[in-house]
Symmetry: D2
């Protein structure tokens, strides 16, 4: 994968059911605005609030409707459920799996490394690592990623550490680790997970981004990516204009804020699922003001 | 529920499958050592590493084998899955459900309150709150618990905050909130979740404890509870002798350490499930030394 | 030292100057209510907002006015300034020095141990360790305290970790470490730093407490200490009634809240020093309500 | 100020005394390598381990020896000591003062704002804000900086938040706040405090950096700054090569590691002061390897 991939929100109806028809519309809405791949069942999808069966059907629906590659989220706290979800994603037509570090229980770096090695060896789908300390409380350290990057079925990473220096260090460890193998095995795709630093990460060697922001502003996000190829400083300027909005739909108001803002822009985003609740009046006011600047 | 309830570990075989036969043996092993109720599918059970079907069958197995009440863990990140798991626990013969605060996504106190109200209103099983910041990163604040305690189907709490002052404050809020209703609706059972402060919590009004330690040392844990009824200072002294061991099987070496130590004592605890791994030589040495002092 | 020692607030006038006359009145006000020793220049004194010369004069003033022993705070981020402050405290008439872990820069346990060893060896005053992670972000671990406890000039500790289990573990490490030496060198005085768990800490072997609460409610705090000698459960009950107030004057509203509440009770506490500011109306309302219950 | 300013380490002799002669040599050593201004008594100077008198003399020594502007660190936990230190810095010949957020006690944003306003109004020297959560546990939020930026005597900031998005948001708030006033009062100089993201911060509107790295590699750091004016992407590449080394002398081994590495490169950096200790063999090995790559 490379370029821009939105971690697709999952449209629920007001009663909380998955609205598969609207999900297809969402795929079309976003693809029509120029993204490069789609990521169903990532953190923004509220996957952790769905059953395994729902997740598989969401992935299947997206894979059927999409004309771009599909990177499906399949991570669970346990290895068995992750393997099972990854098999289901393969059956559902996904091209690769994005696997968040196992959460709930704490694990050290050695245990995380063993987990990904076993997963990658048993999975038919290529695996992308996913480290997002804001949700999980754990981070894949640069040394760990470097060691994992030489595994032939570990093919990339979504780095949501919100730290450019750590991104640079991770990139270097990967380069050292894969120096001998890239000619045969292909590149390890390091992608950024924060829309606020897309342009800087591209300059630092990211091949793309998996960005909540690409749900709400796919065209503007893709524009940053394209601008970077011609003029990195222009990409950076375009990106800066998106920082406040990105902060609002991630750190400040999270998925419910993102979905509300998407609906305001006419996207078929649907409603959040419990325990998530609709944003309150103050949040909506803040989001409204930021959308007006877009 | 009151008294001592072990959050039962789940025996897995070396290949990672649930060993239901050994689980029955474990129920007998622990019941024979004097506990008051059993808690399958709590945090120590590695429930988050099992499928929903496995969890239901674990609960059913325990409920069949047990001669004491069963408080079954049924919490998930999402309300729907929690409701479904709670229904399954009722069908499996559980007497009540222990529901951890929804994890992975962050929620504020207002959202947590709404979540528990909706859950309690729709559940046929009585619900116990469960707040364990070490795993979830969130805590149910005393004011929140106080407001929830008046709900007729929210009947207790496992407090794993590791803070006696917060326990005392929670107890006070509950007392204020339920002053009018206890005569008709019965008590709200506040229980402690840390074996290191069982005696102190009992002095502060806890009706019991759901304690990892009760897996490993059920008789010694029950002895603290019984001693407290006669002589609180003696209970406290007995409890102090368990603090190092309790720290080792929770904070230091967690579930894999607990299971290894149980096996050393002859308990049919089985093996941990991946990503969990067996404790290393240093951890085993530390645990061995602490077991020798028991 | 043993028994109850208030970490005396420093009365400032409204312009921010130290009000030494009022400080003498405060010593009398508190001593008349039954405390066992006094602690000028602790965290509640706003010592970090004073010059070295002011701190020395505050200690001197308290030592002159007091008829009980004086344990003077002398910790600074650097060893030289701490040594100098400890010398000044000795000259000013203090009986011992309470030395907070060096703050601002991060130090590992080995460095902290070396720091206290060098300090104790060069100081003419006996030294008490002081660990207060809420202010410093660092904690003296039980093993570190155990190793330090055998030094003949390290004679005690104020533990403000807010964790009973850690207190118990620290106590055990000290007992192991000093088993050979106590007959000649005397006891190592482990004291608790949180008024919310005084009774429990006494049951766990504390010889006393250095408690912000003893500024505001010296008689009630001393009553817990005395009750403990006869009836630990009664002490615990009395202590519970102080938990909300103690939380308010420490975690919630800190030193400015403490001083405002003291003034409300007629104590010559004076005003806080900048950057501290008077508590706002909401804080005052909360404190007022808690004082009414006292 | 703009361009590159090293937060000068303070050379101590092996007994821990300030080595003022070597400090003069250090000023010459660094100035000869192309920096734009000098920052004595910043965090890397171990100012918190010095007396007020030593700090004043360090500033005076640097101001006498320097041919570039001097931005002197003068922040203390209390307003009075900060005002006094700022006056002393003015007397010692400093051009402006860099004032870290008041530490030890916690303060909310409103209190921090009041603190800086009062300081700026009473100070004859222009004031730079300094926010460094790694040391203080507190951050100046973008909104707070925005409000403060319109004060005529608050003229800049060192942002050590290690977050590009927050830097961008701070920059925007400043621009909104000073839109009316810049023509008369001049610019508000926003500088970055992390050498790992200098190039990115320059692209985002930083006018320079106050960087520990500029102590160790002044020429390489200045080269990033100069390259940025011609070719931002080239600056970014040069900067990337410094990320590992910068991580080592800040996050990993801090001031003692920085000083050891400087001595290895022939800089008159002197020794750290207690509680700081010389880096151990492993740290020296890591630093040695990174210096070899420089």
């Amino acid at each position: 994968m490379n370029g821009i991939g939105p971690p697709l929100v999952t449209p629920f109806d007001e009663a909380g059911g998955v609205d598969y028809r609207r999900l297809r519309e969402l795929v079309d809405w976003i693809e029509g605005r120029g993204v490069d791949f789609l990521v169903p069942c990532g953190s923004n999808s509220e996957a952790e609030l769905m059953t395994a069966a729902e997740r598989a059907r969401v992935i299947e629906t997206v894979a059927e409707e999409a004309s771009v590659p599909v990177l499906a989220g399949t991570g669970n706290p346990g290895l068995r459920e992750t393997l099972e979800a990854t098999r289901a994603a393969a059956d559902a037509g996904a091209d690769a799996a994005l696997v968040v570090t196992p959460f709930y229980y704490d694990h050290d770096q050695e245990t995380l490394e063993a987990y990904y090695r076993e997963l990658a060896s048993e999975s038919s789908l290529p695996i992308y690592l996913y480290s997002v300390p804001a949700y999980t409380g754990v981070r894949l350290e640069p040394d760990t990623v470097g060691r994992l990057a030489s595994h032939p079925n570990l093919v990339g990473m979504k780095d949501s550490h919100a730290s450019l220096p750590e991104f640079v260090r991770t990139k270097r460890r990967i380069a050292e680790s894969t120096a001998d193998v890239v000619s045969s095995a292909g590149e390890f795709d390091l992608m950024i997970g924060s829309g606020s630093v897309l342009a800087q990460a591209l300059s630092a060697g990211a091949v793309g981004g998996v960005l909540a922001l690409a749900n709400l502003a796919p065209a503007a996000t893709a524009e940053v990516f394209e601008a970077h190829q011609e003029d990195p400083e222009r990409a950076r300027e375009l990106n800066e204009d998106l920082v406040e909005l990105n902060t609002a739909i991630t750190a400040d108001y999270s998925v419910p804020g993102l979905k509300w803002a998407m609906r305001e822009r006419g996207a078929p985003a649907g409603y959040p699922r419990a325990p998530h609740r609709e944003p309150d009046a103050e949040a909506r006011g803040q989001l409204r003001a930021l959308l007006d600047e877009l």
